[in-house]
Symmetry: C2
Subunit: 434 residues, 2 copies
Amino acid sequence: MTVTDLATRTYNHSFRLDPIVRSLLDTDFYKLLMLQLIWSRHANTNVTFSLINRTRTVRLAEVIDEAELREQLDHARTLRFTKKELIWLAGNTFYGVERMFRPDFIAWLARYRLPDYELRRVDGQFELSFTGPWMDVTLWEIPALAIVNELRSRAALRHRGRFALDVLYARAKARLWSKVERLRDLPELALSDFGTRRRHGFLWQRWCVEALKEGLGERLIGTSNVLLAMDADLEAIGTNAHELPMVAAAEAADDAALAHAPYRVLEEWQRDYAGNLLIVLPDTYGTAAFLRDAPDWVADWTGFRPDSLPPIEAGEQIIRWWQDKGRDPRGKLLIFSDGMDVDSIAATYRHFDGRVRMSFGWGTNLTNDFRGCDPEGDAPLAPLSLVCKVTRVNGRSAVKLSDNPAKATGDPAEIARYLRVFGEAGRVDQTVRV
Amino acid sequence: MTVTDLATRTYNHSFRLDPIVRSLLDTDFYKLLMLQLIWSRHANTNVTFSLINRTRTVRLAEVIDEAELREQLDHARTLRFTKKELIWLAGNTFYGVERMFRPDFIAWLARYRLPDYELRRVDGQFELSFTGPWMDVTLWEIPALAIVNELRSRAALRHRGRFALDVLYARAKARLWSKVERLRDLPELALSDFGTRRRHGFLWQRWCVEALKEGLGERLIGTSNVLLAMDADLEAIGTNAHELPMVAAAEAADDAALAHAPYRVLEEWQRDYAGNLLIVLPDTYGTAAFLRDAPDWVADWTGFRPDSLPPIEAGEQIIRWWQDKGRDPRGKLLIFSDGMDVDSIAATYRHFDGRVRMSFGWGTNLTNDFRGCDPEGDAPLAPLSLVCKVTRVNGRSAVKLSDNPAKATGDPAEIARYLRVFGEAGRVDQTVRV
């Protein structure tokens, strides 16, 4: 016997919009940590963030309807942090620390809304950018990426049959659960969801995170998604990202200041935060250069998050550096989060087991892996290498070199100057999948 | 086309238990306000709370399965305040006041669980009681009532057909919405849900409160249910109840102390709370006696909540008293919450409009009114007059006289003594429906 809930059905069918982003907490935790620092120390810095689709073969503006994209972006701009969300941010304990966010910062968040955007179509791609005070613009990164990614998933699945969809998600669930079973073989695993920005969709990310919670138990240490952390009583995980050294570098008055910029950022960070938040992201201008020139106190930080070298190579390099500095790596932490999946997690875990503390940030391959699931082939749902990066700072080009030249961004002349200052040591070309 | 979510269906059908109380916040807000005062000032008082079914014609122990009742009570004892709930209690603003709950009280709540219970079947009724330190026992009141009431609803509906149930709830929804439409005629209405303890069921209360939120807008000032307040971003509403003067009276050493007990409670309350929480509940030992002997400062409180006289009669009596004391009633607040429904709300509102500020607590007739909805007649779902009251204090009988002798409780000898001390002025026999 079948009874239809007519009110719900009618309500669902007359939705003006099925919003992709329903809360300003639907973002990565490190964006809020960085935002507090930006708000308190860099209120006068102006930046542009730009969406960059590195998967040029997918002509996004031909896949996604521009009007739908505008509707979703406009909807995100109507959101405010709710009272309950602000109470939770103010009152929750993050990394064991109470009152991580200052009351005056929370008060500022209460008035915050996402600022305006610029959107054009150029050569089959969207040019989507956000310009204004850094503290207003920075939060756009994650919702912008989540919106574009989910609109693409929706477009791909729009005309599928009901059972085809049922089977597609059944396969995806089975696929994820097989990964969970393999991860259970790693007894001391510490894993976090890092998959917000490139997720298939919000509801799918929620399914994945809640499945990990049931399937991995204590091995799941948390999620970078603040909304899911609040709703599922998980730890919010995250520290900092490339935008901090990129803006500091672009603001440097001369080459000497540029060379010092990555360490100036760390000085600010450790004045504002402590403990498990003292994680170095070393690769913005090349890890080898970073380590070569790093002051001794950087070796006192809790750990590193290598982000663009192969994980074992990066880990060995950092462990050697700690040893050279006279530090015992067994008390240090490495966070691996660059394109990880079960194979690389297991290999990296087994390689370093007992030599260093590790945790893993599992992103796109957690929340957007539909390989082998779609009867129409993998292409329509294959994740894009989509980023939303700071591109200009007070009118100058922002630059990232990365350990992987395929991930470098910035004006060519500026890239050349940065390469003069930091050198090219240790950079390795690799295909960027996500 | 129909697709069944097989996992959800299997999960639902293999529930060990469908819990009635799923959170310790699923209680009335005033229980938490009172608990903080009890915890800080009366940690050594021992009490018994007892379930009393004033609707003797319904033989509850023949309607509700004792094993199911024990399962639900046992389940409630497994609950803890979750981290998110404690953060919200600590960080939320109640009646415009921040940090209503002290950090050491919140820390105590974090370790709290409901204590053990005693349950026997006597003459077709349950004898359910809770004995121990007042601060441990008091929170049982609301979940005990909610559990017994919902088990009765479930028993009544257990063997109904699918469409009979669909129509029953359709009628109930239509009935509530007609009330909402009538309440919209009262432009300055301030209404709160007070219906947790005698609700038909938790999900039905949630439907009712969310329907009021959509239907009444600003006229809905909040809900007494703390969980619903948190989840629906509504104000939590409530002040204090009869248990405070009842325990104070039972602890009084002699008749003089007994006569003073109702005012001693108010002295404690106003040392701990302020503003909109300064609401007098005058009827524990008769409103007329209360007003006759009240110190002048009681007239400085924000308002009164008459609870057992007809509302217009009670309001007139209190307004006269304010005038006698030289206070302007137009700055004062009356809260009407005793068995109110749309007719009495509208009549009371129109009677006092412009003469005094008013708000209405809408309880059983909001969350458990199925009159005319059930094809099998009103009896199976008619609300019970079920209470859970403090009955003993440090070994002595607790007494309530009330303005309505039908609501009096306590040992007859003690009732007689209380009547000697407070007198019988102004008490009016009325049928107690809920």
